[in-house]
């Protein structure tokens, strides 16, 4: 079995060294390169065609979010694991919109990195448990203070099922196969979920799912 090739992008040597140790300690993972900033990460991704890029957000020259967008455009096969200090939804949502599959907090990187890399390589979502917790807290507080109802209650069991599958990174076709439904039906359910939850686009849907603890 082929090892998953990983490109590490972080502007701090110490962090990169730590990450490399974690990655190299896994038998199925290997580090194919290290980049010191976003611009370098884009160039190296184009040259090395890694399976996964572990990307720090705060980097000089070109930050991780922008670098992610460019890599997703130039090297569609490379999935991105975003590495950040922030569990704020502004970061999570923007990372998702840029095309990242996984979002890891640096605090827990060492524990979750291998799982995140594997999930991303398989095209699945992965989030640090702490991220979901923070997002949920924000969400619940908002609901409580504004006196609004949790729109999740409005979803039917089937819609919740599809919400989870979409959030996990499955395409409509995969979901249709999995649930034994037609692609058209899956698309209809998906549209209804988006409408009920007042969401625009898959990134917001994933964010919502992370917040509710549906995916992690």
């Amino acid at each position: 079995m082929n090892k998953i090739g990983v490109l590490l992008a972080d502007d701090h040597n110490l962090i990169r060294a730590g990450l490399r140790l974690v990655v190299e300690s896994q038998p199925d993972l290997t580090v194919v390169g290290e980049a010191e900033n976003g611009r370098e990460a884009v160039t190296m991704a184009q040259a090395l065609k890694p399976d996964v890029v572990v990307m720090d957000i705060g980097m000089p020259s070109l930050n991780g979010i922008e670098a992610t967008r460019q890599i997703r455009d130039a090297v569609p096969g490379a999935q991105i694991v975003m590495l950040s200090m922030h569990s704020d939804e502004g970061y999570v949502l923007r990372a998702l919109k840029a095309g990242a599959k996984a979002y890891l907090l640096k605090d827990s990187a060492e524990a979750d990195l291998a799982r995140a890399i594997r999930a991303a390589a398989a095209g699945k979502s992965f989030f640090s448990p702490a991220v979901g917790k923070v997002l949920l807290e924000d969400y619940m507080r908002k609901l409580q203070r504004s006196g609004l109802e949790d729109s999740y209650e409005l979803l039917t069991p089937r819609e919740r099922e599809i919400l989870q599958l979409v959030a996990e990174g499955n395409s409509s076709k995969e979901i249709a196969d999995l649930l034994n439904l037609s692609v058209y039906t899956v698309e209809t359910h998906r549209a209804r979920v988006m409408q009920k939850l007042n969401l625009r686009g898959v990134p917001e849907l994933i964010l919502y799912a992370v917040r509710k603890g549906i995916v992690s």
């Binding site: 730590g18 140790l21 502004g90 990187a109 807290e137 504004s146």
Partner: protein
């Protein structure tokens, strides 16, 4: 700038000089006015007295002459008449006229001078002579009388009469002369008065001129001083503004440096430490529980420290501003405030340019930060709203709450002054809309930066 208690001693001296000159001038004018009035009064009284005396003398003199003439006529008639039975009546008439003449002479004003007295005495003497002559005539018999009379009148009385008339003429002339003298004295007096007044006027005019010149010099000097001070003030104000703007810049730069230092050095070292601890735990923890417990303890301490350092760094310089841009940073700020406080913050943004220069981003960010902090601390509101968008003038930022508000014309804390300062630095306008009980809103409008070039 050194603040001297007496900025210009020379000007204060000049002030005193001007004051005393004007006081002297005023006193001079007042004195000369009083003097002139009193002199004029005296002259007027003098003139009136002279006129009065002259009128009395003239009247008396004409009365005397009339009486003498009457007397002479009466004598003539008496002499000419032939009947003796009328003698008594004519004699009585003559006696009456004699008394009249004597009283006229006596009634001549008493304030007569020696010359006048000599004239009057002379006249009295002449009349006495005339009378003696007449009396001798009167004693005679009518026919003898007629004979004597002709000679008497032509030889003796006529010259006497003429002499008397001459004397009275002389007296009249003398009186006229006296009037002339009095007039001359008056004219001299008036001339003196005129001279005195013109002297006073000359002095007054001179000192007035000095006063005017001095005042002008004083005013010019004051004007120059004022202008100088104004320029100085404007310059120092400008310098102050520059200084405070530089202060803000320096503060931001310093914050950013410290934040980066914290994040890059301490944060990353701690991060690396955490990774190492994790690996150690994996390697050793399984076999030795006491080592694992210690490593876990180390890990939690390191994690807490990382969190602390991160919070401090974020407070100093929100990395979202660099990583995600202004809107994301404001949304993050809103959520942070919502998490920390009882106030729920909603952030709305529309058409905010992505390539705003850093000073604009940091200005708006700090503005919102300060306004939200104020709202949390003072408003008592449960909600706040941040709106950022494009307006006619550029970028408009509005932070409002539904709290208890304040009197925006009076209460202006350092926070608000700081916000205003930041906005003004970028040429924007800043307003506070609030009244007690009506919530509060701060509104800032920043003109768009001149060129949207290569700003990071």
């Amino acid at each position: 700038m050194d603040a001297t208690p007496n900025p210009d001693p020379a000007s204060s001296t000049l002030r005193w000089v001007l004051l005393s000159v004007s006081a002297t001038l005023l006193a001079l004018l007042l004195m000369s006015g009083v003097l002139a009035t009193s002199i004029l009064d005296r002259m007027h009284a003098q003139q009136q007295a002279v006129t009065h005396a002259l009128a009395a003398r003239t009247q008396m003199l004409s009365g005397l002459l009339l009486s003498v003439q009457n007397y002479n006529q009466a004598v003539g008639q008496f002499v000419a008449q032939e009947k003796a039975d009328r003698d008594e009546a004519a004699r009585q008439r003559l006696d009456r006229l004699t008394v009249e003449i004597a009283s006229d002479l006596k009634h001549y004003p008493n304030d007569r001078d020696p010359i006048e007295t000599a004239f009057l005495d002379g006249m009295e003497g002449l009349f006495a002579q005339q009378r003696t002559l007449y009396i001798s005539v009167l004693e005679a018999k009518p026919d003898e009388r007629r004979r004597q009379a002709q000679g008497l009148i032509s030889d003796r009385t006529s010259p006497l009469q003429k002499q008397m008339l001459g004397w009275s003429e002389k007296l009249r002339a003398w009186n006229g002369e006296r009037l002339q003298q009095a007039d001359d004295a008056l004219t001299t007096d008036f001339g003196r008065l005129q001279g005195g007044l013109s002297r006073v006027l000359t002095i007054g005019f001179g000192s007035g001129l000095i006063l005017v010149l001095g005042s002008m010099a004083y005013i010019v000097r004051l004007e120059r001083q004022t202008r100088g001070r104004y320029v100085l003030l404007a310059r120092s104000q400008h310098e102050l503004q520059q200084l405070s703007s530089r202060l803000v810049d320096a503060q931001e730069t310093e914050r950013r440096n410290i934040s980066r230092e914290l994040h890059d050095e301490i944060g990353q070292s701690l991060g690396a430490l955490l990774v190492d601890i994790g690996r150690l735990t994996n390697a050793l923890g399984g076999d030795r529980p006491e080592v694992k417990a210690q490593l876990d303890n180390m890990k939690s301490v390191a994690e807490r420290t990382v969190q602390e350092v991160r919070n401090i760094a974020l407070l100093l310089r929100p990395s979202m501003l660099d990583d995600l841009g202004l809107v994301a940073a404001l949304e993050w700020q809103g959520r942070e405030v919502s998490r920390r406080s009882e106030m729920e913050v909603a952030v709305e943004s529309e058409n905010v340019p992505d390539d705003l220069p850093d000073e604009y981003r940091i200005c708006i960010y700090r503005l919102v930060q300060e306004a939200l902090n104020n709202a949390v601390r003072h408003s008592g509101s449960r909600t706040a709203k941040v709106t950022v968008g494009q307006s006619a003038k550029g970028i408009a930022v509005r932070v409002s709450d539904g709290g208890r508000g304040f009197d925006s014309r009076r209460a202006r804390g350092l926070g608000i002054l700081g916000m205003e300062e930041r906005v003004k630095r970028l040429g924007g306008t800043f307003t506070v809309e609030s009244e007690p009980g009506g919530g509060a809103a701060i509104v800032a409008e920043l003109p768009l930066p001149p060129t949207n070039g290569n700003h990071s």
